[in-house]
Every structure is written in structure tokens, then in C-alpha cells.
Assembly symmetry: D2
């Protein structure tokens, strides 16, 4: 995480202050349950809520204590005891630090997931708006970077909408995967703490009890979460690369918004560069990379080791903050994207008529020409357009083998653009639903 690529709301989730506050709440909720069970006095639980709730935790002080104990939760509990007084001895009864740390991480990751879901919703809204705006804006579809057949710019955006709808659904699954609470004590046997405590804390924090924990919440959950973020980042990369392509000087069918005062290059004042989507391409590489250590974290030794911890201290914030920033930046890019339908039309006609080659091919086969012969007929005329700049329609009309099979009117009819856009409504209905 670096400030340049961060937004405050997501950053806040990962601040020490937030973390200590969540730790406190986990401990205090657990005290309530312990009091209910008669393990600790009810009054103690009340005092803990009151005094701890009012406390302002001093991060620097906690760090000092940790420098001695080399244990962060013990440092926090020591600090907390200073506020709570003698009743502090009832805190953390039968619990182990992982109960606090892992449940806290679950709270942070679910909050992060909620922000990311809101980010995706905003992106979906922008994509939908622009998709409908350009539903009928004809543009050339390209396979292999080569002109293929016409499509519409709205369909391109509908594809992105469908892709991020899937991203959303995946994130919902991934959120469920990490939304569990473990208060099961050392090695997860509940020997020193009744399972009821876990159920109570889980409920209070909007989590589910972890069915079986091993002191820690199993890390396959987190691996799945970060792998999902990596896939979402890859979808960001795809849309970003699409825009970078469209903004190429020779293509220029769309362009990132260029604000007044912005400078594209320190040396070349004429430049307007797709720097936001290039930036997103790089950020996607980062979020994707974090999936690997998350997967390597799964195989902890026996009931747990702590090798996952340093990884998560880094990728917890890094992956969620970067993805949050990237989604928001992409939403801005889509929202303000400059679209140039005239250039789309100009590009479409660059190789005059060539994009209609398939229709001619199909017409020939339907007129009884074998597939192989039809292909050869069309290809030989197409290559003249490609290599010599000829007009495809004229070449076809001059080819006797072609006119032997198709009438002039038939051939001409194959050059109608409307033919390619007749199912746009169907596609939009599939993607956006009836409404």
C-alpha cells in the first residue's frame, strides 16, 4: 500500500486504531458471554465495556510494551488493563491470541469486501449508463487486433458489465468464505472456553462460527479470498487494455478524459496519454501477485504456525486498498471516457468493405459452392483489398466465378451494416435484464 494508490475509507479499516477497537469489542463481547455462563462476574463485563469503551488506545504505548513482550495481543491486554482496572483479569479468559487476531481479520476483510462490493456497484452503474448511451454506436469488432466484423460500442461495454457482474458474485462468495469467527482457545478444542462464547461473539459481529478451528481460522478461506481479488484485478486489466488500445494514435476511438492543466509529457506538449488505464494495468499485476503467498499460507504446520501473519499484515491492506483504488479509478475512467463515433466509422471503412467477407462466403456456400471453393474465391479478392487497397465490392463484382454464383443485387446486399446489429437488443436483454 502506498498513499498514491489509496483511498481513506479502506485505509482506515487497516489502521492500528481500528484494529485495537475491534480487538476490544471481541474481548468485551466474549466477556458478556462468559458472564452469562457464570464464568466471570456480570459486573466485570459491564465495567469492561464501560471503561474499555471510553478508553483511547495509545498505539505508541502498545508498541513499547510489545517491544518487551514480543507479543502484540499481550501488549494490548496490558494496555487495556490500565484503563479497566482489577476487573481486567477477567478479560481473555480461556482465549488465545489467535481468537482475537483471526476474528479481527475476519471483521476487517468483511468490511473491506463491503467497500469493494460498493466499488463494483458504482462501476457497474457507470458501465450500464455508457453501454446504453452507445448501444447503437457501430464500431469494428477486432479479433487478433485485426478488423473482423462490425459490432457496437455498447456491446463492448455490455461485455464489461457482464464480466463485473460475475466479479461481484465471486466477491460475494469470497466474502462468505472469510466471514467466520473463532473463539475456540488453544488448538481449537474449546477446553477452556465454552462454544457458546464463539456463537455469541460471531452473532454480535455479523460472522458465522467457524465449524472447526485449529487455534486459527483455516487459511484456505483467505487463499480463496485473495485469489478472487486477483481474478477481479484481471478483469480490471482487461477493460484497461481495451481502452489503451482504443486511445492509440492510429485508432483513437476513445480517450481518457484529459483535464485542463494536465500535462501528458514533460518533453512533448502534444501528448495525451492513457495514463490512468496504464496505471490500472500495473495495479492489476500487483493484486494478482498477492494470490500466490495467500495460497502458500494454507499449509500451516499442525494446529498452526505464524508464517501466515507477516504475509497477511502486508497483503491484507495491500490487496484490498489497491483493488479499491483501482475499481474507483476505473469507474472514473468509464464515467468520463471521451468516445469518438466518427473515428469508429472511419476505422470501420479503412479496408473498404472487407469486413463483409464472411457474409459473401456464406452466400456462396448457400448458392451451392463448396465451402473450400467459396473460401478461396473470397480470400483471393480480399487479399487484393488488403495488399493493393482495392475496393472489396468492386473486386467481387468483377470476379466471374463469384457472379456466376451470386447476382449483383445479392452481393450488394451483403454490405449492409444493419445486418450486424440486429441482435443488439437480445444481447442487452440478456445482460441487463428486461427492465
Amino acid at each position: 500500500m502506498i498513499p498514491r494508490y489509496s483511498r481513506p475509507e479502506m485505509v482506515a479499516i487497516w489502521s492500528p486504531e481500528t484494529r485495537f477497537r475491534i480487538w476490544f469489542e471481541i474481548e468485551a463481547h466474549a466477556c458478556d458471554a462468559l458472564a452469562e455462563l457464570g464464568v466471570i462476574p456480570k459486573e466485570a463485563a459491564r465495567t469492561i465495556w464501560e471503561k474499555g469503551g471510553a478508553a483511547e488506545f495509545d498505539v505508541a504505548r502498545i508498541n513499547e510494551i510489545e517491544a518487551v513482550t514480543k507479543h502484540d495481543v499481550i501488549a494490548f491486554l496490558t494496555h487495556l488493563a490500565g484503563f479497566v482496572g482489577p476487573d481486567a483479569r477477567f478479560i481473555h479468559q480461556g482465549m488465545t491470541s489467535s481468537d482475537v487476531l483471526d476474528t479481527c481479520l475476519a471483521v476487517q476483510l468483511t468490511r473491506a469486501a463491503d467497500l469493494l462490493l460498493a466499488d463494483i456497484d458504482a462501476l457497474l452503474a457507470a458501465l450500464k449508463r455508457r453501454a446504453f448511451e452507445h448501444k447503437d454506436t457501430v464500431t469494428i469488432g477486432r479479433s487478433h487486433g485485426i478488423h473482423a466484423e462490425p459490432t457496437t460500442f455498447g456491446i463492448k461495454l455490455a461485455e464489461a458489465y457482464a464480466e463485473f457482474s460475475r466479479a461481484r458474485e465471486r466477491l460475494v462468495h469470497a466474502r462468505e468464505d472469510i466471514a467466520t469467527c473463532a473463539i475456540s482457545g488453544a488448538v481449537g478444542t474449546f477446553a477452556n472456553i465454552d462454544p457458546y462464547v464463539e456463537e455469541h461473539v460471531a452473532k454480535k459481529l455479523g460472522l458465522k462460527p467457524e465449524p472447526v478451528s485449529t487455534q486459527v481460522i483455516p487459511r484456505d478461506r483467505h487463499a480463496m479470498f485473495f485469489a478472487t481479488l486477483g481474478v477481479i484485478a484481471s478483469s480490471i486489466e482487461r477493460l484497461s487494455i481495451e481502452i489503451r488500445h482504443l486511445q492509440r494514435t492510429e485508432v483513437l476511438e476513445a480517450e481518457e478524459y484529459f483535464s485542463p492543466g494536465q500535462k501528458g509529457s514533460s518533453a512533448m506538449p502534444h501528448k495525451r496519454n492513457p495514463v490512468l488505464t496504464e496505471n490500472l494495468t500495473g495495479l492489476a499485476r500487483m493484486v494478482r501477485a498477492y494470490a500466490m503467498p495467500a495460497m502458500e499460507n494454507v499449509a500451516l504446520w499442525h494446529e498452526r504456525d505464524i508464517s501466515h501473519s507477516s504475509v497477511e499484515r502486508m497483503i491484507g491492506p495491500d490487496a484490498t486498498i489497491t483493488l479499491d483504488f483501482a475499481l474507483a479509478r476505473l469507474t472514473g475512467v468509464i464515467d468520463k471516457l471521451l468516445v469518438y463515433p466518427q473515428n469508429m466509422e472511419k476505422n470501420l471503412n479503412k479496408f473498404r468493405g472487407l469486413v463483409h467477407s464472411q457474409r459473401v462466403l456464406l452466400a456462396l456456400t448457400q448458392a451451392g459452392v463448396s465451402r473450400e471453393d467459396a473460401y478461396r474465391l473470397v480470400q483471393r479478392n480480399a487479399m487484393k483489398v488488403w495488399e493493393e487497397g482495392k475496393d472489396f465490392l468492386e473486386e467481387l463484382l468483377a470476379d466471374k466465378d463469384v457472379t456466376a454464383a451470386l447476382s449483383v443485387a445479392d452481393i450488394r446486399e451483403k454490405f449492409d451494416l444493419g445486418y450486424h446489429t440486429k441482435h443488439v437488443d437480445t444481447i442487452f436483454r440478456r445482460v441487463f435484464g428486461e427492465g
Copy 2:
């Protein structure tokens, strides 16, 4: 994929024969729909099914044709035409090769997913059986590789069961993600083929129509699929490493089955090595690695490029065949695992009584000693056990600060193993359900 780590049923999914057969079925189903729509003669569709259905596709011959056309689907269609005769010209009308290739890949991946689901079911059955067998086999739980507190070997296996239940659920999601059919023609506009054809073929093949394709099925679907396999492989690694640890000479609480005639080492005849789980550890690294290129495949250029294809030709078989093999091998390991409860007991008692330190700590705090003082009291006696081989119970009974707070009977009671296993039933109920 290498034969050593392959099983025939999964290998068969990826054979050229299977692929060509699926290609044929996609084309033939499409012909049915086209015939229904009146685009091609009904008789032609029938002929195609009959003659193509009876054909034995010659892989070598198709490869020869491809060497000229440099296009695999065209090579196949040319070969197919030889069987079908003149009606062959009605095949592939308005379709593009991606319609065939991507839908075929969806069929192959869903079949592969079905095998993998069956593999997981077999593993779950083995885990469940062994978990119940060892539900009450007390063993030491370890955090950081260090003795922590007692648990049971059944709980260890229950954890693995819960983890692979999650793996199963994730695979079901991942299977849904790639189970779509695209017959949408060049750049996905349905210009040359009615959406009905896609719906028909999808239904026949047990797939859903892809809401919006861009000539290809979007690759975020496949990225999610392979990322999920990577997470499942990581769970395999975890259980494998657990077993490798248990088989260490100094631990020897469990051991891979060692068959008669097997040789552990060419040089040292005394060796019995956990080679299967070591092998699984390596295989897990491979399956995990394939997630990366799958994610990089997402950002195809515009409506599609073909950079994903070489990746999928490799990881399609490699990831599924390797994971299938690994799951089956792990099932065998669990099924036949030699378990040594006596060694578990011996290890548990290695540092005499030390594993009960937490209980004494809690008793002291409940008797009014502050948490910090209690920790210090327990730790100073524990270190004598650790460093000087003393007996923990004896040390505590000899420590006047301890006996000032707790009676001898109280202290003795803290050394009861049953205390740690009292919630095993709860845990099993959570993991395996009531039944």
C-alpha cells in the same frame, strides 16, 4: 501432464479423439437448430448426424491438413466433409471456430470438474471414516511445531474434512463459472447465426448460453476455475505436510502405508519415507502455479486474441489431470494411513505435564492472582521442565506462591486429559452434522 501422475479417465477427456467427437457434436447439434430455423435442409442435418456419427476421425490425417491450413477447426471440417459428402457445406454455417473451441473447452472442463468432485467425495468419505475411528484418540496439539495442548487425532481429520467440504463447494461454483456455451459467430453479434442455435446447443450439452460473448467466452471464467484448483491444491499440500510431520522419525505418530517389496532408499535399507505426501506437496506447487497464466489470459485484446489458447492447451490437461491424480493419491494415503496412538501418548507426555500450563494459569487468575503475576508464576516453573527435565506438577506443588493461591487438589485436577476432549462431540456435530 506426465503419465506418472495421471489417471486414464481424466486423460481421456483431453485426448484428440474426445475433442474431435465433441466438436462434431457441437456442429451437429447446431445443424439441428439451423434446420429447425429453416437455414439448412432438415435432411442435411440428419445426414450429418448419421455419417459424422459413424465416422472414425483420423487424428494423424487432421494434423496433416492443419499443417497446410494452419487452422485446426478448418482441418477438422475438411476431414469431416470427407465422411459427410456434399451436405458438409451446411456445417458450421455462420459459426466461427471459437464457437466450437470454446464450447468444447466448456464441455471438457465441466467433465473434468465432475471427476474432481467425485475425487473430493471419495476423499471426504475416507477422512470421515478415519476421523470417527480416531475421534477419541488423544494426541498433542501443536502450535509453531511446539507442544500446545491435547486434542484428538479425530479432530485433526475433522478439520481436513471441513476444509475439503469447502473445496467441494468452491469447485461447484467454479464449475458453474465455466459451464457456458457460445455459438454467437464472429465478434459475438449473432449476425450470421440466430441466438436460438446457441440456446439449443447449450441445452443439449448441459451448459448455459453465454449472455454476451466476444467471439470467445470471456476468460475471467477460466481464471476463476484454475484459481480455484490452485486453492484446492493448497489444501492438499496442507494435509500432506501434516502427515509428513507426523511421520518424522522423532514424532512417528502416523505413517504412510509401506507395501511389501517397497524400498525406501537405494542406500539405506532401514528407511520408510513419506514419499507420497512429499510427492503431493510438489504436485500442489504445480497446480497452484497454473493459476497465474490463467489470470494473465483474461486481458485478451478487443474481441479476442489467441494468446490464451497455448496456455489452455497446456494447463487444461495439466491442472485437471494433476489435481485428479493428487486427490486420488491423497485418498489412498488417508485410507491406509498407519496411526500409532501409543506414540501419540508418549509424545504427549514428553515434557511431563507441561501442556497443562494454561489451565494452571487460568486457575490462578480465577483465584485472584493478577494475569501478569499468574503468567510469571507458571512460566518460571514451565521453564524448569523445558530446560531441566523436571516434572511440571511436582514443581508447581513445590512453589509456595502457587500453593498460596491453589490447593494441592485443585492443582492436581488441572492435569486431567479428559478436560481437553469434552467438546469433541460438539465439534464433530458441527463438521459432520447430526447423522
Copy 3:
């Protein structure tokens, strides 16, 4: 590895036949050294070379034996004994299977590295030839996909030449890293085998003795090797993507050779797609991915475990065969690349004169205008070219603030293309040397 992306010479390195032959040679060379030391009879060593050298190893038979022993080296030794007779008991004295396996892998990897070095040499030759051919072919340089300033196509290829020269040097280092021989016996102490044997075998096989092995050759060596292949693959990706960009319909400055009979698309006969470089893009993703498990292989347990083995059985062939194929394919692409200087010129002039904006900026600052003002002056005229299709030179000449600082002749002089290519010779000398 799949046949589609393989070349026979590299495949042969990884065949079982080659492997068994190398195993035999390691054993036989070791016997020579043992005979010299008087550990085994000299005659036995001779017999082993004679009978083993003439033997045709039967892969299927060895596999059958392995199915029982579950140990590949023992299976091989048993098979070998059948040819050698009673003297076979002198083979493998004091050695462990890793001595054979790891030294064999070193032989295979060095041979693979030699092929790859030859591949790079061929690529460098092609790049050099085409670079000199197009040394003065002016083309637009692009940053961010946006026209920047003129360069030459030869410089582009010189960059690639310099990059693959670095790739070559890295591979030489990586080859050194894995070219070691270990014949050190169980846990690497030489307890049962004199270090002289290792020295002898190393010398015979063109390797260096591993200074300290732990039964296995340390895997950081292999990690470095495969990581280096990953970096080389990334350079292949870069050049491939350059070509894919140049072949885009709107750019069309270069094109992969399109052979007679080739078909670009089953549906669209007009297509000529950069399928080879797209394919290389995908293959690069794969070779890169193999670096990860190679790095995870480093941390074997204690003196060794066998988790690295399954990984290496896969990535050993997969990475080297794929990279060999990719380098050769790229060489072919470069060799036959169709280059279109006229299109380069046409593209260069697309935004009339805009690429000279920096020169005007510099001239203004040198004429006393502040950098900020100069930037503003140039940018405002550039934007008119960009947005309204104006001619940059005309706009500048009509801008009074510009002509107040610069004479008309001065301004005109800034539009000279030769200005940009004046250091081509310097650059070529730096890259290709004086010759």
C-alpha cells in the same frame, strides 16, 4: 510439454532412453574411479562399461520393476544387473539415488541450456540482419501507444538485439549455476564414497563438483535457472507484443509472413492474424509460471525431501521445451517478417507535424521563453491538430506568441526528420560493436 509446441532435439533430452543412458554413464564413470581407488576390481569396471554400454534399456521393463520397488533408480539398477551379470554388485557402491538423479538432471539441464543458447544465437543473427536492413527506415516512436517522436525500425530491432544479448548472458550464468555434479552419498558426507569419485565423474561429464551437497544438489541453483528462463520468456513476450501491435489493422507497419494456403479465420476469409506472436505471448506466460514452483522447491526439509521431484519432472521438460520452441518460432517470425515502410511513413504523418512539438518547445525556451509558457504555447496549437485535424506547422506560424519568439525559418527547420536519426550510427555501434 505438448507435441504442438515441441522440437525433437529438446524433447530427446528428456526421453526415458536418454535419462537411463546418462544414469548408466554416471554409474560407469563412478565405477572407474572406484576401481582406481581400489574399492572395486578394475575388471568389474571394464565389464560394466562393456556390457552396460551395449545394453538396450527396456523402458517398459524398468517401469514394471518400479511398480514393485516404488523406487526408480533401484528398478534401473536391477534391470542393468541383468545385462552386466555378477559384477553388477559393484555398481552404485556407497552412492545414493540422488547422486545419480541430480547429476543426471545437471547433465540434462546443461544440454538444454546449450540448445537454448544456440536458439538465442539464431535469434540474434536474425535480429541483427533485419536491424541493419532497416537501420534507416524511419518510423514513429510511440510512448503510451501515442505517437511521440520519429525513430527507425532498425533501432527497434537493435533494442531487441540488446535485450536478447542480455538474455544470453543471463542464461550463461544460469547454466553455470546448475552445472554441478554430486556423488557424495547419503546426507552428503562422503562417508561411503571418496570425494575423488565425484571429481572424476564431474570431469567426465563437463560439470563441477558440488562444494557441499546434502544428498541432493541444493535447489537454489535450479530456482535461479528456471527464474532466468522466466525472464527470457518475458523478453519474448515483449517482442511478440511489439509485432502484434505493428500488425493491427490500423497500424499495419509489419506483418507476420502469411504462407500460401494458410487460413486466417474459418469464418472471415479476409483475415491475416498475428497468430504466431499471439501464441508466443501465451507460451511466455507458461514459462514464467514455472519459476514459482522452482522457487518453492528450494526449502526442502533438512538434508532433503522429495517434493522437488514431481515439480522437476514436469517443469524440467515443460520449461525448456517450450522456451526452445518459442525462441525458434520467434526467430522464424523475425526472419520472414513483412515490413511496410510506406505505412510507417503514412502513420508518421497522421497528425500533421505534431511529432515535432518538443523541438518547438526547446527552441522557444532557448529563445528566452520560460518553460511553462513555452509548454502552454505549444500545447494549445498541438491540441488543435489533435482535435480539429489542423496542420501543426501552419498553426504555429499563425500564432503570434510563437512567431514573436521564433522566426518562420526557425520554425520550419524544426520539422526536419533527419534531426531525429542523426545518432542511429552511435546507437548501432553501442549495440553491435564497431564491426
Copy 4:
């Protein structure tokens, strides 16, 4: 990067203050060269050094300017102009921001590499000291986690020393790879700046001129650098995992130093956990992960895009700071490692005499028993030790097939530990040299 895992000297390299200072120096050195060439006044160059050299750059102010210009180098130059006055217009003549940014990154990475080299030297010193200390401390060597044959603890550390010597050499190569300077102007043609400027700046900064740059320094250099860090991190992981294994409760042959006041567990006061090496295991995963985006950065579009930038802003600091911290932590662990030779001896004798099985095997074969029979003889006695806790020597002496081939004295001689350590000096000489 997070403070917890950072050391100040490495952090300082990546501070904005350092960056701006390097930027200034690059610009000022370039001005000297430009003045020498007569492009700008000599006096201007002097003024720039004087006023810029004395300036305190205001990071917050530069960020504000960047918020408008959206260009960091322009923001800096604007800020710098405020200090320098009118002569500021002579700064950055003919340069592009990449000249500054990429050369700055080269300076930062070489400085980082120098710190890392010093870190490795410190680690090597610690390893050497402890290796000689324990050169003759006999311990059991383990393959597959299973007792194999005796070795010494010094040999284990010698292996680590050899491995980090290789790491050092690799880092030297990687440092060379990124130590280049590019001052070549837009698209790298030197059109607006004489190559002499690059040579001058390179010399002043201890770099080499980049033979051919494309506005940016080619990213294969950085990919190789970060891949090398990943391999080094993997070596850290290996040594860390060795220590974690040795500290396992059942093994306890070595232990991380446990400081007074340290608490191993909040719940279990008896715990002493290998938390430092577990932490290092996690950090290694992170450094390794950064190799992937670095490799993906290679394939920039045409002469450059800026997708690499966000990646490098993150992994530049993250990888070097984390690796610096990890190397230093590992050095501390080695330096203070508690070693328990008595436990090593106890473990070695756990399966009484079993570790000598190979010697007996060899003696049998040399006495004329076939390899297969000898293996069977030894294995059947070994299994009784393994399974029934028998004494290996006694079993052998009681086995008539064994005593038929070997005398009692012969058999007894095979149980001598000194046999296994006779080549320790040779190994140490190979690793540490003659001294």
C-alpha cells in the same frame, strides 16, 4: 512495506526526499554536460548546482503541484524553478521524465543492492562462525524427515554458507543488470540531447550508459533483479524451515534465542516458539511473489508505456526493504541460536543403531552377497528396530544369514560414528577455502 518489517537505512533510500535529491543531481549533472557542450551557459549550470543544492525540497508542495499537472517530474521541476530562478529554464533541456525517473531508480536499486550485499556478508560471517563452532558436533542427517545417516551441525551451516555465497554472487550480477543510466530523450534517439550527456551523468552516478534505451531503460533488467531477490528469499526460507524443524518439541536440537520478558503465548506460559523463523518464512513468500509482476512489466508497449511504474513504486521498496529486514533478522537468529548437542546425540540414538544400515549393506555386498539379497537381509532386521524397538546391532548379530557373510568384529566396526565425519575437513575446505 510496513514499519514492523523495515530498517531505517533501506527505508531512507525510498523516501520522497531521497528521490527528489537524486532527481536534482541527475538534472544538475546533465546541466554540467550540456554546459560543456555549449548547449546551455556554464554559469547557468553553476547556479543550478548552488541554488538547487542548497534547496530544501518541500514534498507536500510538490504533491500539490502534481495534483494539477498530473505529472510528477514536471511538478518537481516547477518546484525547483522556484529556488533556481530564471536559469531554471536550462534544466531538463532535451530530456524526458523517464531519463530522470529511470536513472533515479537505477541509483536507488544499486544503493539497495549494496545494503543487501552488506546484509549477506553479515549473514555469511555469522554462518561461518557458527559452522566452525559446530564443525564436529555430530547430529543425525535426515532425508524425508526420516533419520538417514550422521553428519555434523557444522556441515549443515556450511551448506547454508555455500548457498548464501551463491546468493551473493547472483546479487552482484543482478546489481550489474540494473546499474545503467539513460539520458536519451524521447523514444531514446538522442535527437534532442547528445549521447555525451548520458555518459557524463552515468560516470558521476557510478552507472553505465544504457546501450540503447527506448525512452525507458528496458524492464528485463528489473525483472532479473527482482527474480534474483525472489531466489534469495527462497534460500532464507530454506534455512528458516531448517531451524523451525530443529526447534520442534520432539526434536529440540536448536532453538531461537528467547529473551527475558518474552512471552511465547498469551494462553500457554510454557511455550517457546520459533516465531522469528516462522516470520521469515512468510516474508520469503512475499519477496518471491514480487518477481511475478516484475516479469509482467517487461512487455511494455512500443517504446514504453507506464504500466511498470505503479508496480515499481510498490515492489521497489517492498521487495528491498523486506529482504533487507529478513536478512538481518536471519543473521540475528543464527548469531544467537541456542544449540543443544546433547539432544542431537539423544535423537541420533533414538532407533538404536539403525542409521548404520547402509554400512552393513555395503559390507555384505563386498563380502559377495548380491545387492538384492543384502538389501533384504538388512531391511528385515531394520524393520524390527523400527516396529518393535529392537537394537539393530543385536538383531544383526543374531541373524545367521548375516553372520554367515560377516564376522562379529566386522559387524561391530560398522557402528562407528567417526566413519561418517572423516571428510568434514574436505567439505569445509571446499566451502570456506584453505584459510
